[in-house]
Symmetry: C2
């Protein structure tokens, strides 16, 4: 009978990997990945912390060490739908770029984040449970992000900036609804399509916006954090 | 002590009206309205048919007469997010109007329907439970509606019709996410904003599209069914 070499981690029985891209040795990430999968497939209300623990290959006390409640899991997953774009926005507003370039870059970064990962975290925003006071930090961040869009939409000279901001923000968030539904477009093509759409909605001007796209790609490439395009 | 006139229906105790616009004497509509409210506030998984019956002022056997299962309630509510726009599309494609006018009118009608009613029925599409085989008639209708958009987007001469259709369809469906979140825009303004946005995304042309808007409003006014604008 072959022995497992001491240097190789023994895979525990009953520990299905829910995301093949997740790295070993990061229980927190494995838990979040398991929760994301269960919330998206079984539903939030019908998912127990026991099921999350089982899918992460952990016992419940270990799970509670990282996330004391199911709400804490939801709060972290919700945060990930908005925090990367908000961090990018803060950096972006310090850059000496034209508003159209900034809007293109923000829409691109935000769309790319919503399309990232194997599970549709954006859909969690629509849970009735997400409206509870516990999740107000998430809604505050989302409002700040939307204000960032409004600033850029205004600076681009949109006639009806309030409604246009809703449409642009809505266009970006629409990928929550459609991106994972058997679409035939890659993540980068979707992000560029949405970003170009944001400029068409905002400026009411024609075309493909190649100059704004090129400048935005350069900006995105120089932003701090992991490479995105 | 004043007597209730015999001609006036006596309001039963424990029968809270969930939608003040619903008409008396239509138990089926009252049940659907109660279910819509509970699914949107408590959540689908956590809503029991007992709770739906109680909120409709009915006993469970009466509820089961109209809707034998909770899935039947969801199926009917999902259908209402897509059927009005699909019926309009079938009529629309027979009209001698230009594709841009037809696209404006379809986006208007679809948006208006998604914004109708006090509850966000569109969000039900994102329930994990809605993916079950039981709801395939809904998904088939939704696919037909999207194909209608694609036909019009192509006829408008869009360069990348596949991706543009996703963006236009996504823009319309984005009202599911944002319309009820404290927006300051009336339903008609939102429908016109989305319809204009659909033309901007599709044609890549500038402006407000006043001719298309006027022609679309005339079309919408002559369509069969209840008045919409």
């Amino acid at each position: 009978m072959a022995r497992v070499p001491a240097s190789e981690p023994v895979r525990r029985v009953g520990r299905p990997r829910v995301d093949p891209t997740a790295r070993d040795g990061e229980p927190r990430e494995e838990i979040l990945d398991a929760a994301a999968k269960l919330f998206s497939t079984v539903g939030y209300a019908r998912t127990t912390t026991r099921a999350v623990a089982a899918a992460s290959g952990l016992r419940q006390p270990s799970l509670f060490h990282y996330f004391p409640t199911k709400e804490d899991l939801l709060a972290e997953l919700l945060d990930r739908t908005v925090s990367p774009a908000l961090a990018f926005l803060h950096w972006l507003l310090e850059q000496p770029a034209r508003p159209e370039v900034q809007l293109y870059a923000l829409a691109w970064r935000d769309t790319d984040n919503l399309c990232a990962g194997p599970h549709n975290l954006g859909a969690l925003q629509l849970l009735p449970e997400a409206r509870a006071e516990r999740f107000s930090p998430f809604w505050t961040k989302r409002t700040k992000l939307q204000r960032g869009y409004r600033t850029l939409v205004r600076d681009c000279g949109a006639v009806d900036a309030e409604l246009t901001t809703e449409l642009v923000f809505g266009l970006v968030e629409s990928v929550i609804v459609w991106y994972r539904r058997g679409g035939r477009h890659g993540r980068a093509a979707v992000a560029h399509g949405v970003a170009r759409g944001a400029l068409r909605l905002t400026t009411g001007r024609s075309g493909e916006f190649p100059r704004q796209r090129a400048a935005a790609v350069a900006l995105l490439g120089s932003a701090p954090g992991p490479a995105v395009c």
